[in-house]
Amino acid sequence: MPVLTLNGLGRSFGAFRALQDMDLTVEDGEFLSLLGPSGCGKTTTLRMIAGFMPPTEGTIEIDGRVLSSPAGCTPPEKRGMSMIFQSYAIWPNMTVAQNVAFGLKLRKLPADEIRMRLERMLEVVQLGHLADQYPAELSGGQQQRVALARAIVVRPSVLLLDEPLSNLDASLREEMRYEIRRLHDEFKITTVYVTHDQSEAMATSDRIAVMNGGRMEQVDAPYVLYTRPKTRFVAGFIGRTNFIEAERDGTSVGFAGFEAPACVFPDAPARRALTFSVRPQSIILHRGEPSAVDGVVRLPCRLAERTFLGEHWDYMVETEDGRLRLRVTAPPQRVLEVGDDLWMEIDPAEMVAIA
């Protein structure tokens, strides 16, 4: 059963449309990310879900009740949600324990239960020994844990996270990423997570909604997004890719230098001019001509540029006539020199036609 439903949600600031036609459902216990570059409307969406901002179009429903519409908005304090802010928003005038217990006190729970839940929560986020410290005395990662504990301890109907890791350094960010997922797996709270970092979204989410320019481009599980991107933007934003132009001609699709039967691409749009996305990892380079495998395309090419990035090689190859210029990723041991004459192998099944 969906907990949270956005119906045709839109928000304008004067003439500027920050968000339009957003349709989305989030299932009970699901972890969903809103992913996109800055200005794509993801934070606007989150703030509307939280009730800090009314929509100018569409509605937000929770458990079938309309909470936000252009006519009015249930204020944030009446929504039973909780949120983790980019700045953490830990109250500096309260100790760790006071911060975490705040929401429980507002709910007027019995003192015993508050103490019990507080202790258990601090244990879960490994902050028990810091309960009486003030936030100014904590490290960035510890503050982040306080924010998490404070938001989760009230068992919200929906947990909202607004770029919670963007203020941490790289290694800590990776650690907290798993921490967030671990807490979600433990408490199964319906979660909406806003980020511009694709690896963060990939590591934490059940599904990712990719947003761009105020619109949602695609919502799918991370693996599907990567292997089956529907739009040019998604293909380019989730990982790196090559775009190849092609032309459909009856039962075959013609590329620059090779062709493939149209039945390999059942999802391709029914039009003549097509664009395909090929991941750099899907292309294999060979020094000599590889033995023929059914359906796999083989093409002679030359190495034009190379960059060593430590974890892998980044090669740029081009065909003799220069009509195809593709980026290829290879493991570090696979050392090739600029100017080498090579063969590349592409399996058309790994190519995706995009809208």
């Binding site: 216990g29 939280a50 009730g51 800090f52 929770i62 458990d63 009740r65 309309v66 909470l67 936000s68 519409s69 006519a71 009015g72 908005c73 249930t74 204020p75 944030p76 304090e77 009446k78 929504r79 039973g80 949600m81 909780s82 949120m83 802010f85 980019q86 700045s87 953490y88 928003a89 109250w91 500096p92 005038n93 705040f102 929401g103 507002l106 709910r107 404070r150 938001a151 009230v154 068992r155 919200p156 109907s157 909202l160 433990e186 408490f187 199964k188 709270i189």
Partner: protein
């Protein structure tokens, strides 16, 4: 287990109410909204209406209520009245010149050189500023009153001359006394700017062969010139708006100025409309010059002064450090040591002219003022009461407005903050006339009540309160409040539990910054006090008319001690520089 944990026990999300009439819409307003509306009404009452009534009554015939320019004709139709306006400008110019001479070398020495006793000098400058100027005037009357003054006595004793050479009741005396108080502004503007000039700027000139003096003259001072000019403008405006010093000095000196002339219009029969008309040019000059100052300080041509960075080293003055220190002590004597020394002597003397001797020493003046004088105790109580009430009221309003504008709760936040800052450009005397015009006559008829003074003081110090509150509010991230709301607390809970505790220090500082000058406030009080609402400053002026300088000095000392105690407490609680931060 996890299943029960995920069951939300949060308050059940309430569906939005159906759309209905006006009543429903009012019910749906957040309760805090009502508070904002009340505060806005108060702001209109305190600032907008008095200004409006000032301008309006200058254009209206007092008896018939018709629109007229007669008030302006009456106000400026006489040569004496025009002369007072011109005198005021000369006085302002003189004060600016002397203040610059005091402040700029001192500011440079304090922030760029190794002059000894810099902390002491800064403290003395602050001391000269927080002591009320009219008390300085009393001290100077004791020092340089014709013939009888101490300096004249010493001169006559030393030279055998029949006559003293100093006469404080003169243009020079007036300018000196005012400058000793207001040079603070140039000092603070200049030293703040100098603190931002990197030593590398000076090193670059030194490397090319310029000596210390040449570097100061061609690099350092030109860099901070906009700041100096800004300080000069503020000094000028402070000088021309003063009432107390001119009341004590310029009337005997036969050198009428605008503020004393305005007071004349309030002598029986009170001619508010004429006073209002007469005050308008002063108001225009003030507004115009503040605009100019803002423009000057906003110019980005002197970017070097705005950025920090670069190492700062103190310039070694060598032998000259003691010369510089001597200059600082000379200014300290003129502004603080001499006048307040004389005041202290008089406060403890049977008769101040008999000098420092044991049989002339008495506590009688204090016991008279504290236990026998009919209104002194009331005046002390009133001063403290009005000042604290005004500080609370001004801060409450300013905080609410700062909150509204910072959090963009209402579309017209800019207008609100403008209204809060508006009294900044209104001389106290002019504001008082506005209050008189608006609230003295029926139906409000507040004249002679405590309320009108509390309101007037609140309006007068509202800009201080607002600058303070706005800075405090900026330092609190809105997320901190939104975190409360998303966890189930209303806006008022957020303010009570998070915002207010975090603002405590800012508020304490702001409260003192209002309370201290409000206990000394004269220029608004003089027009609005009645028999039961006497305050220390007005009583001091009354005593000066009686001519009993010993009693007057004793009361002045009481006010001074109060001030020093409060400032010291403030420094202990909030850090030594709490009054010196430029807002």
């Amino acid at each position: 287990m996890t299943r029960t944990l995920s069951e939300p026990d949060a308050p059940v999300a309430a569906a939005i109410p159906a759309r209905d009439g006006l009543l429903g819409r009012i019910r749906r307003l957040e309760p805090s909204m009502m508070l904002w509306i009340a505060l806005i009404a108060l702001l209109l009452f305190l600032v907008a209406n008095p200004i409006f009534r000032l301008v309006a009554s200058s254009l209206i015939d007092g008896r018939t209520g018709d629109l007229t320019f007669d008030n302006y004709v009456t106000a400026y139709g006489r040569a004496r009245h025009v002369e007072a306006l011109i005198n005021t400008m000369w006085m302002g110019a003189g004060v600016v010149a002397l203040s610059t001479l005091f402040a700029v070398p001192l500011a440079w020495a304090c922030s760029r050189t190794d002059m000894p006793g810099k902390t002491l000098v800064r403290l003395i400058v602050l001391g000269a500023f927080i002591t009320p100027p009219y008390l300085g005037a009393v001290g100077w009357i004791l020092l340089a009153g014709p013939n009888a003054g101490w300096l004249n006595q010493i001169w006559m004793a030393a030279t055998g001359s029949e006559q003293g050479i100093f006469n404080i009741f003169s243009f020079g005396g007036l300018v000196l006394i005012i400058a000793t108080n207001v040079f603070f502004f140039i000092f603070i503007f200049t030293s703040n700017a100098l603190d931002l000039v990197s030593s590398e700027m000076e090193d670059a000139a030194n490397v090319l062969g310029a000596g210390t003096l040449r570097t100061v003259a061609t690099i350092t001072l030109p860099l901070v010139f906009p700041a100096i000019l800004g300080g000069m403008i503020v000094t000028f405006l402070q000088a021309i708006a003063l009432f107390g010093v001119p009341a004590l000095i310029s009337i005997p000196a036969r050198f009428p100025v605008v503020t004393t002339q305005l007071w004349q219009f309030f002598q029986y029969p009170v001619r508010v409309e004429v006073a209002a008309a007469y005050a308008i040019p002063l108001l225009m000059i003030t507004i115009g010059l503040f605009g100019l100052q803002k423009l000057l300080l906003r110019r980005k041509g002197f970017v070097a002064v705005t950025g920090k960075g670069g190492e700062r080293r103190m310039i070694a003055l060598g032998r000259w450090r003691w010369v510089m220190f001597g200059y600082a002590m000379l200014i300290a004597s003129l502004t603080l040591l001499l006048p307040f020394g004389a005041l202290t002597q008089a406060a403890f003397a049977e008769a101040w002219g008999r000098g420092m001797s044991f049989d002339n020493f008495t506590f009688g003046n204090f016991s008279y003022m504290l236990f026998e004088h009919t209104t002194a105790r009331l005046a002390i109580f009133n001063s403290l009461y009005f000042a604290s009430a005004a500080a609370c009221l001004a801060l409450a309003i300013a905080l609410a407005i700062a909150y509204i504008t910072d959090r963009r709760l209402l579309p017209f936040g800019g207008v609100l903050s403008f209204l809060c800052m508006a009294p900044f450009v209104i001389p106290g005397v002019v504001l008082a006339i506005g209050f008189y015009a608006a609230y003295a006559p029926p139906p409000v008829a507040l004249y002679g009540s405590s309320l009108i003074l509390i309101f007037a003081f609140s309006a007068r110090f509202l800009p201080v309160a607002f600058a303070n509150s706005a800075a405090g509010m900026k330092s609190i991230h809105p997320d901190l409040e939104e975190a409360v709301r998303i966890l189930g607390g209303g806006r008022l809970t957020a303010i009570r539990r998070v915002t207010a505790p975090l603002l405590k220090r800012t508020l304490a500082g702001g409260w003192l910054l209002i309370f201290i000058p409000a206990t000394q406030e004269l220029s608004t009080a003089i027009f609005l006090t009645g028999p039961n609402t006497q305050v220390i400053s007005v009583l001091l002026l009354d005593l000066s008319e009686e001519g009993n300088l010993e009693h007057l000095s004793a009361l002045g000392m009481i006010l001074l001690v109060l001030t020093v105690v409060i400032v010291t407490v403030g420094m202990k609680l909030l850090g030594r520089d709490f009054m010196l931060r430029r807002t």
